[in-house]
Amino acid sequence: MALNQLWFLIVGFLFIGYFVLDGFDFGVGMALPFLGKDDTDRRVLINTIGPVWDLNETWVVVAGASLFASFPEWYASLFSGFYLALLLLLAALIARGVAFEYRGKGDSPRWRATFDWMIVIGSALPALLWGVAFANIVAGVPLNAQHIYTGTLFTLLNPYGLLGGLMTLSVFFLHGLFFIVLKTEGEIKDRARQLAKKVGYVATVIAASFLLWTLFAHLSLLGAVLTIVAALALVAAQAANFAKKDGVAFTLMVVTIITAVGALFAALYPNVLPSTTNPAYSLTIENASSSHYTLTVMTWVAVIMLPFVLAYQTWTYWVFRKRVSRKNIPAGSH
């Protein structure tokens, strides 16, 4: 395997890791107004992801930096092209991040309600935008001969892009609900399970339509296999939720996200950002990649560090494995 192929896989791996992990953070944030009947409930929900949300978010920082190092042209064209969409994304992620940290540092209901809404919007907006962005990456965008984006924000809001956004929005919401079912106890767990049943139907329809659209636009054996596995895992996850197999439901949801995002990367390959203006202007793993030496250096770093990273992050999840419920929430602010 050539190094630029390997780095296409590593970048894909990092984004998939990001979506699997921050995906349920987004879902938990979106669930606040649905499941949080009072402040204690909302604190239960937030504390399910309390110790891990920022390390989950770090995956996107690492994915972005790795994209920069391994495919500078891709990074440059993508980030400058999707300018306003990324501005919205950054504003949302900033709002979410500070809201987690700051909501508990004041006692007035108004203070907390303000930050709660920042968490909800700061979770839902990125969940939507990531899907819009990735759908457009796969479908291609207007790029000129210098690989410079010539569209606007509204170019990205095409039917396929929006459907992709709705897919990530609904799938991450469902992912977060399964996570809540897994990580909480008591009444809130039951409410999450019931809500997941309803969200599950919507997510399945949207995800199936979007993935089939993607598959027929970019037919490949690998794409077909990944799409089928994603669809089966999504349906099975809901069956597991009905059967109250919480761990199984969550694990199957992880499989769904891995294979669904994997199907997108399979549809993209060997392009990294196709041009709809002229296929000759497309960015590919050949013309967008770093030099052989840089990729070699980065491969050593990634090969040595990633197993280590996975090991200590797994340990973190093990340390914080206990379920959270109302009786765990101390009174007052901290």
Partner: protein
């Protein structure tokens, strides 16, 4: 070269706006970073002292300053995300040109340092009571390692912009390509910039500890833990300050060697001078361009000594350097904005020295357990705390503005790095959004810090005595 013409708005072009945006967001981001770099180390020492001595006052200090560290850390984290994205968003031609080299330290920062920081800081915050004392102590030290590694990698990336090494130009692809990662990571600028950044951060973080302790001592509360905190903070400020001076000297030598124009600009030295004439101007009234100087205080030989560590060394002047660069890189003006470099260099040094002096006087006044001081003394300790931060901010303005007109010294001008596809409206919109968000966050952040400081150290220990069922730390 670009297909798309720059799209202006009210006379503002994307380049000017992008420069302002980068300046604003970076200065804002770096208001939080020094406290992270310095405080994580100072808190790790506090916690070590507690584990070693079992003296509860060290636990109180660990908890209080750990809390301030975390409130601050959240701001550094979210504003740091903007930093990484805007290379691609606003400076895509720069990213295309240097990505092969510059991307590597950024990705290493992510893989080696950010994951470390984010994971172990979570374990530290939420691990009280869940991890054994020693393992929990290890998590703050590993967080420290992650924070400092991250600082090193980003400084190595910045050092490439100041003094590009370890690369060759690929004429076909119009880009710099990495040829020696070891050279990039041991760039003489990075090797000198790192200790300067870390020690200055410790100096400033020490002053923050002093300010918090002074706030309580002025109110005659928490005397035991806060007196210890005060002395600890004063020593940290002084020692950090001494380290800053020593490492600054090394950085100055590296700067003369790699970017002589920046040193000449720091001194507004137009004519190449040697020995007695290579004087350091402490203060000048009039314009510092040397043509209409009305009054100035100069120390003979000092500039020669700072630049070469000899008394009769020669320091190149702006005019000669500009002529050299025109010969090397073509017609143009290669001088940065001289008044800005001249004054920022002085303010950086002056404010840093002032912070050290305050600490030195504080150490003398509060020796042998003295806490009966007049209010003005406590107020001075409180209001002196931002001095180090101001010095750091201004120092970075000097470093970055002194590199102009280059974005990568000798390879690419700032004007060539901006994204060709973005419009002035795009950038203006993002400046407005970030300014609004950052402005609101600054107010909220200040309120929360103030509240945490007000609450004092004792309340934080109650967390530990909670019902066993309850989370010791919860959002």
């Amino acid at each position: 070269m670009h297909m798309l013409a720059a799209q202006n708005l009210w006379g503002l072009d994307p380049l000017t706006l992008s420069r302002w945006q980068f300046g604003l967001t970076t200065v804002y981001h770096f208001l939080f970073v020094p406290l992270t770099i310095g405080m994580v180390f100072l808190v790790a020492i506090m916690q070590t002292a507690w584990v070693r001595t079992n003296n509860e006052k060290w636990l109180k200090l660990t908890k209080l300053f750990g809390k301030l560290f975390l409130i601050n850390f959240a701001m550094g984290l979210v504003t740091g995300l903007v930093q990484e994205f805007q290379f691609g968003m606003n400076w895509s031609d720069y990213s295309r040109f240097v990505g092969d080299v510059f991307g590597a330290p950024l990705a290493m920062e992510g893989l080696l340092a950010f994951f470390f920081e984010a994971t172990f800081i979570g374990l530290w915050i939420f691990g009280w009571g869940r991890l054994s004392k020693k393992v929990h102590l290890a998590t703050i030290w590993i967080t420290n390692l992650g924070v400092w590694l991250s600082a090193y990698f980003i400084l190595a990336a910045n050092a490439f912009m100041q003094h590009p090494v370890g690369f060759q130009l690929n004429e076909v692809k119009h880009r710099a390509e990495l040829t020696d990662i070891g050279a990039v990571l041991t760039n003489i600028v990075a090797l000198n910039q790192f200790p300067h950044t870390v020690t200055a951060s410790i100096m400033y973080s020490g002053a923050v500890i002093v300010a918090v302790a002074a706030y309580h001592l002025k109110r005659k509360q928490y005397l035991d833990s806060m007196y210890t905190g005060l002395r600890y903070g004063l020593w940290a400020t002084l020692i950090g300050g001494i380290g800053t001076v020593l490492s600054g000297d090394g950085l100055g030598l590296a700067m003369v060697q790699t970017q002589p124009m920046k040193m000449a600009a720091a001194e507004a030295l137009y004519k190449t001078s040697s020995g007695y004439d290579a004087s350091f101007s402490l203060f000048s009234w009039g314009t510092p361009d040397g043509h209409s100087e009305i009054f100035s205080v100069r120390i003979p030989y000092l500039l020669s000594f700072l630049s070469t560590h000899t008394l009769n060394g020669t320091v190149e002047g702006l005019n000669d350097l500009n002529a050299q660069y025109q010969h090397l890189y073509g017609a143009g003006d290669y001088m940065p904005i001289i008044w800005l470099t001249y004054w920022s260099f002085r303010w950086m040094i002056g404010l840093g020295v002032l912070a050290m002096l305050v600490a030195l006087v504080g150490l003398v006044l509060t020796r042998k357990g003295r806490v009966q001081l007049p209010n003005w003394a406590w107020n001075t300790a409180i209001w002196a705390s931002p001095l180090g931060l101001l010095a750091i901010s201004i120092g970075w303005m000097f470093t970055e503005m002194g590199r102009q007109p280059w974005i990568v010294f000798s390879l690419m001008k700032t004007s060539a790095g901006v994204s060709p596809g973005i419009t002035a409206l795009d950038v203006l919109l993002s400046i407005v959004v970030f300014t609004l968000i950052y402005g609101i966050l600054a107010v909220v952040e200040f309120k929360i810090l103030r509240k945490a400081i007000d609450a004092g150290p004792d309340v934080l220990l109650e967390d530990q005595r909670d019902d066993a069922d309850q989370l010791t730390v919860a959002y």
